[in-house]
Symmetry: C2
Subunit: 504 residues, 2 copies
Amino acid sequence: MFESAEIGHVIDKDTFEAEVPALREALLEAQFELQQQGRFPVIVLINGIEGAGKGETVKLLNEWMDPRLIEVRTFDQQTDEELARPPAWRYWRMLPAKGRMGIFFGNWYSQMLQGRVHGEIKDPRLDQAIAGAERLEKMLCDEGALIFKFWFHLSKKQMKARLKGLKDDPLHSWRISPLDWQQSQTYDKFVKYGERVLRRTSRDYAPWHVIEGMDSCYRSLTVGRILLDGLRQALDRSKIKPQKVNVAPLPALDGQITLLDSLDMTRRLDKADYEEQLITEQARFAGLLRDKRMRQHALVAVFEGNDAAGKGGAIRRVAAALDPRQYSIVPIAAPTEEERAHPYMWRFWRHIPARGKFTMFDRSWYGRVLVERVEGFCSQADWLRAYGEINDFEEQIADAGVVVVKFWLAIDKETQLERFQEREEIPFKRFKITEDDWRNRDKWDAYRAAVCDMVDRTSTEISPWTLVEANDKRWARVKVLRTLNQALEAAFERTAKQARKKKR
Amino acid sequence: MFESAEIGHVIDKDTFEAEVPALREALLEAQFELQQQGRFPVIVLINGIEGAGKGETVKLLNEWMDPRLIEVRTFDQQTDEELARPPAWRYWRMLPAKGRMGIFFGNWYSQMLQGRVHGEIKDPRLDQAIAGAERLEKMLCDEGALIFKFWFHLSKKQMKARLKGLKDDPLHSWRISPLDWQQSQTYDKFVKYGERVLRRTSRDYAPWHVIEGMDSCYRSLTVGRILLDGLRQALDRSKIKPQKVNVAPLPALDGQITLLDSLDMTRRLDKADYEEQLITEQARFAGLLRDKRMRQHALVAVFEGNDAAGKGGAIRRVAAALDPRQYSIVPIAAPTEEERAHPYMWRFWRHIPARGKFTMFDRSWYGRVLVERVEGFCSQADWLRAYGEINDFEEQIADAGVVVVKFWLAIDKETQLERFQEREEIPFKRFKITEDDWRNRDKWDAYRAAVCDMVDRTSTEISPWTLVEANDKRWARVKVLRTLNQALEAAFERTAKQARKKKR
């Protein structure tokens, strides 16, 4: 895999200087078109052997191109902000928007390679990390991103020679110090595991390019040409969405009973019970959020439901238990321009709370498989794909200690009609009802099918759905609070158990 | 994920009987069309809880449909044949051809689930198996296969009730006996790990369908409907090949030096040296193949090279060292009809040698990235995808102890011309030269680029390419034999080292 990058590729200075002006011009033009089209982001991953010219090459690219359209990201030590969140968060927040180019130094590959080379993880964990990287890149490509993966290579002999010259340069002591690399063991391991990583993750949609790093003219020109070829090809291609040949569709419900039908919609609480239980659960909740065990967790509550099912009221009752500094509410509506310029899940990743924090999503990432599916705002391929991406997302945040509680507030069709009419009659409620609401109501059955598929495909042990019978608002609000409390207590218990296990 | 399959779905006998005739007819028709079109195979994976009606449902499907077009495969204990080969071999050889339907009981998912439930593997290994399954299914779908994945489910209570009735039925004592399932721990673990597997592998191109198994009318009708919907949709879809929006192309070589250029083509052996070295290496090779350490390995040698580079002659010199019962030679030409009806890699999987055996491939799976790429016999998407699939394939067989040695026999353009002319002049060699050879020669540069990309992307630690300077046939033959010997010795040494490590 690295043989070609050890044979001593050289481009002489004259050839280099003769070719650079045209290449620069073409790259600048491509960059400009990329911005104009605004159709996809470009992600450039920089990995490889220390001393192989990674930094110099990127520096040169920035000189050749318009640096205002390039974001160079270095992922060094994790910041406090990053340490408090799931590992992938640091990459998500740095993703370039459509029309822009992001160069990632020290990306997910560096992390897994460092871990394996230094023996912090073994092969099975490395393979888990590799599978995670594959999923992430597949998703980014499915969302249209153009990914370049460069591995800068040197033979062992070349590397030793280069390091001699570089070891006093502070720019090159990042992560693995040159001193460390001087040991041939480090080189051998890095190349060995590097090959495993490249072999597994060089896929048709995002292949690796191995660049021999010895000669600066060669490596710069080669990287420049590959970038230009790839950019041009992507820019010139028409906007065909990939279409899968053979996918079994989800089965139609055909009047079968569903989880929604199995709900007992007559559940209710009288006023006295409600007030007592609400206060109890609110107090319990406030206590749990202040509990010191909360420092190892974060809490995310997702509120989805029929129009007029009482999401807002439920959220207010949860919030009422807390100091406003303890939580944040993220209302999800149509995406902003900035959000549209990123992969779908980006707008949610940016709101993932830090450890100890609590975020309520008023509508959420499930929009893709609900409103976007029903209204045809995205293709079938997109929403079918979303189930897997959502499960991956929730698994990643759950692994980092985030407790995810998801509510579907369900009302029946009659109750909705009553509430709509009430809203139209009561002046201060009139802002809450629009033509859209009536239109959505016409698609009641389509939404019902979407909800059932959603629950079937995304209610998981790590993040189950809670269906809330919401014809009675009191019942619904208490159930929401109680579920949150139970979820937190269960999470605290699980963590304590794991800690006890570790001690033994 | 399983909630919907625990709410007690029932379809009454009358509804069932009223609907079955039309469903059967439609299924038969779809089956017939599937065969007529012969465009894609259908793979049905059957998994889930013991006692949930997996067997009965498949039995019924066979009654409803034309069983001549359905292959039901049960993967029980591995046979001797299977144990002697890489784990995936048993599935590959059972893959249905295009136009046919294969129902796989006890497939790759059963294996990983059993292993995890019984504690033979831990989570990281389970995740490795999951990633392997994802790769396999992605590849099958990319090659056009339609995959249905059914999980038959029962709640714990339902399962216990069913098992009571079933425990004396020998049909249901397969793998996990009902007695084992009576322990609620088995159920809990199976569901827990089942959910992890479903969550990770339910992808847009091959989603899982969870079927509640309690009521036989419900489960049969539901499975039948899903199959019909999926079949119809795939049959009616026009033959659009999926096209990736954004893939960076491989860089053009543009006169850069390559591995091929770095070969010293003047290498040669005089007759006396040749004869001595050839005999030495042949004897060494014969000894190694008879060595008892060979029982843990198999040997695969791949011969690729320029036309007239001397593949046949080299293969003959290797074979000459052996008893004809010790090896087999697989010449790869244009695919047969049967081979065309399967995924590309199928034709090679079927020839993977059992442990202790040796197979030489005269041309190989690299045809896709060489002749098929250059001649346009497959799409760019196909050959770009092939690098990853080939690496996966070689990794799987290497993990099972197969030593893979790959030769590219390289000659220069002048030597080829001389040999072509010689072939035309010498009567008994005339059959070896065709118009095709001359045509290929015109594409010398395109082949050269394809070879370089191939070596760069598939020469790996576990299965490196050996470039053979073949202008001198003597030199080439000795180098081939010596490389085989070194590869076997290194493999024996590695295995011994691992055994020592294990002992400690």
